[in-house]
């Protein structure tokens, strides 16, 4: 199987796409697939050991004021796609996916003079030029963890005033994604409810969607054997993301005993103020602390030391922190929002309805008060994570989808 993976951002340390490209390409290569990758900046760690990488230019100038753009980038702004990028970003649009797809379309034309592929796998860029790419006679699948409509709704919930709302609406390229996604051969999503979400958001036909659970590095995320702290809750995620429902966790904290503490793995003030303001409002300053961004080793250590991981999300397209915690034998209390009810099995953690601080508090109290239950759930969680969410499993299932799509495509369905 000759696979071309296409992703507009490739940084393997932040942003799901880079991690996805790095690990999926590596595991697919182990399964015998020939892998090429077309990727935009920030570029991934070297993949050359198992893949041929074609780097696509992009200035990444969204949200940077013109006077703050480095001279090296300014000098390159007048090339056609860079200029289109520049003008559209000044109009508050996020054109990276559009221009990446056009750049890829033309790059692929050159590559196809010497190479052939059985399938193209687009990693949620869904740019306009993905549609004419079908003209190259290769089936195209795309991975969409969750439709951007969810992000836009969450942003609009916190926007006030016409200008804020206008910039939010301009930012998300939903018209383009809706148009493109319906014309691709298959959509891979990471949870079953995602099928309905994609149908509702973009009108994607159910039979065109396949579910493949995301992967994670179960070898790296292993319990370190460090002593567990008592009554120590952990939250891992972007505190500025209103989909994380942090306010409900803080409300639950106000109902929990004073000796229960919360550690947040993210930047606190002055970099990020949303959570800090809420902490002040609920008078939780003495019980909540921020760690800032952590290295992988430190993250594994903190998962292994804290008593429970809590996710108070209003929506999740996968819920990586829950899987990482389970992989480190840490029990979880999560909401049933989005993918979490699939990702967390009831024997690995406690599931509560979203937007319900009382239920969240009760779930936490139940686990904090029962060490045996925590240990049992921790053991089950590790087993569950290894069986379902390791990269080899994700790659194997993705390869099955490829084969199915290629078979359908060649039979002319």
């Amino acid at each position: 199987m000759r696979v071309l993976i296409v992703g507009y951002r490739g940084n393997p340390y932040c942003g799901g796409q880079g991690i996805y490209i790095y690990n999926l390409s590596k595991e697919l290569a182990k399964l015998g697939a020939e892998i090429d990758v077309i990727v935009g900046p920030p570029y991934p760690d070297p993949l050359e050991e198992w893949a041929t990488v074609y780097k696509i230019e992009n200035l990444n100038i969204w949200s940077i004021k013109t006077k703050d753009i480095p001279l090296e980038k300014l000098k390159r702004i007048f090339s056609p796609w860079n200029f289109a990028d520049y003008v559209l970003t000044r109009l508050h649009m996020f054109p990276e996916m559009e221009t990446f797809s056009f750049r890829t379309f033309f790059a692929l034309k050159k590559i196809l003079k010497t190479k052939r592929y059985d399938i193209i796998h687009d990693i949620q860029s869904l740019g306009w030029a993905t549609v004419p790419m079908k003209g190259y006679g290769i089936p195209i699948v795309t991975t969409v963890h969750h439709p951007l409509t969810k992000d836009r709704e969450a942003d609009l919930m916190s926007n006030r005033g016409l200008w804020d709302k206008t910039t939010t609406i301009l930012f998300y390229p939903l018209v383009m994604q809706s148009f493109v996604i319906r014309r691709l051969d298959r959509v891979i999503t990471s949870f079953r409810e995602g099928i309905d979400e994609l149908q509702k958001a973009f009108g994607v036909r159910r039979e065109r969607v396949s579910v493949v659970y995301n992967g994670m590095d179960v070898d790296m995320f292993q319990n370190t054997g460090e002593k567990r702290e008592e009554n120590a809750l952990l939250f891992v995620g972007n505190t500025e993301d209103s989909k994380k429902g942090l306010v409900y966790l803080f409300e639950a904290m106000t109902m929990l005993p004073e000796n229960v503490t919360l550690t947040i793995v993210d930047d606190g003030p002055p970099k990020k103020m949303t959570a800090a303001d809420m902490i002040k409002k609920y008078n939780l300053g003495h019980r909540v602390k921020f760690t800032g961004k952590l290295s992988y080793d430190a993250l594994v250590s903190i998962y292994s030391r804290k008593t429970i991981l809590v996710m108070s999300s209003l929506f999740e397209g996968f819920g990586l922190p829950a899987v990482e915690a389970m992989s480190c034998k840490t029990p979880v209390v999560v909401t049933t929002a989005g993918s979490l009810k699939e990702v967390v099995s009831p024997d690995c953690g406690i599931l509560v309805p979203p937007k319900d601080p009382v239920a969240l508090k009760e779930g936490i109290i139940k686990l904090l008060g029962d060490k045996k239950l925590r240990e049992r759930m921790g053991e089950n969680g590790r087993k569950w994570a290894v069986e379902n969410f390791s990269w080899p499993v994700a790659a194997k299932n993705t390869l099955e989808v490829y084969k199915d799509v290629v078979r359908e495509y060649r039979s002319g369905k």
Binding site: T66, K67, I69, P70, L71, L74, K75, I77, F78, F83, Y86, V87, R90, E153, L156, M157, S158, R160, G161, L162, K165, T166, I169, L170, V175, S242, V247, E251, T274, D277, M278, K281, K355
Partner: protein
Amino acid sequence: MPRAKIWGFLAVILSAGLFALSLFSFFIINDGDFSSFSSVNLTELNSFTYYSASIPIAAVTLWVLATGFWIGWVILTIKVVPPMPEIVEKKDNSKIKAFFLCLITAALAALLVYGVYIRSFWSLAVPALVISAVILGAIFWVGMAIITTRATLPVNKK
């Protein structure tokens, strides 16, 4: 002078020059008398000639107006209840503004289509002037940034 700075100066001079030329052509050359523009007779043009110029201009303008209308429509119709509890409920009149945004963009779009249909000079000139201003403005702004950006940090005199 570094080559990048030369490009920067060229961008600024060219964009400012072209924009000044447009302003001069519209507002100064006729001493502010717009009646001569209104009497421009485009009906004498061959239909192919006329539509080959008017359709691209109208298409870009309609796209911009449609985006404005769509933004207003989304704000008017999207349901994002319940609101986040941490948001202090304050008066938000964005729906009223969105309604006017829809109304104005729809009216302008209708006016443009009508203007193109009756071959009005203004229906082509105004959008062309605005589109040129946006593009020339972008070039000017980048040129200014190139000219004023230091390639290296200034020498620390201490």
